[in-house]
Symmetry: C2
Subunit: 125 residues, 2 copies
């Protein structure tokens, strides 16, 4: 299968799928949460401490969405005070690899992108 055919995954019928995924992982905190949960289970407060800047509200909303998508599992222990633990589901773990691919691209090309932006902006001034 050529790369050009594969590109249809983004453009074609599956394109709606890709948009649906990007609507999720494109959300500010989602990918960060998945990466933070990689290889361990954490409580709500622990997650919040590992992810600087996330508000209770956004952490809650993002976790609920990830749970609904079946990427993260939520385990509430019947204790006082309450204890809730989050971890990646098997499907959630499969997202790690593509996420890393994207991250490596980002890390590799970011310097060039920033140079391009700077050049563009000085031209436009």
């Amino acid at each position: 299968m050529s790369q050009n055919e594969k590109t249809c995954l983004i453009r074609g019928d599956a394109g709606r799928t890709v948009r649906a995924i990007l609507d999720r992982i494109g959300s500010r905190w989602t990918l960060l949460i998945v990466a933070t949960l990689h290889g361990r289970r954490l409580r709500f407060t622990e997650l919040q401490q590992h992810i600087p800047g996330v508000s209770q509200r956004m952490l809650s909303l993002s976790l609920r969405r990830l749970e609904r998508d079946g990427l993260v599992s939520r385990t509430a222990h019947a204790e006082v005070p309450p204890r809730v633990e989050y971890e990646l589901t098997p499907m959630g773990q499969t997202l790690i690899a593509p996420a890393i691919t994207l991250a490596e691209w980002a890390a590799e090309h970011n310097p060039a992108i920033e140079r391009s932006q700077a050049a563009y902006d000085t031209r436009e001034d």
Copy 2:
């Protein structure tokens, strides 16, 4: 390098980079434009025809951002009526592979995600 170390690409200092990238490709039309330009150069109107639902405004804004990032090049021919052609830069072409990786993940797991969502929603009713 272990996958756990690589995950730091998402969480660590490079994490800001990843967010910067996601702020771009996470934008509704960006990835679609890149995929549409894969292997060919197209004019503004042609792009609009290939990407159903995109408004002039969003196509323009997205192209300007991609151009600023150095992922797309814009060539204006000095003619009447004006003719402007867009194509991927070499760096823009390197984005195709990671995008496909993500798209393949999306295509493969979307059925399971939709089942999970349906199950979650009926539970919550």
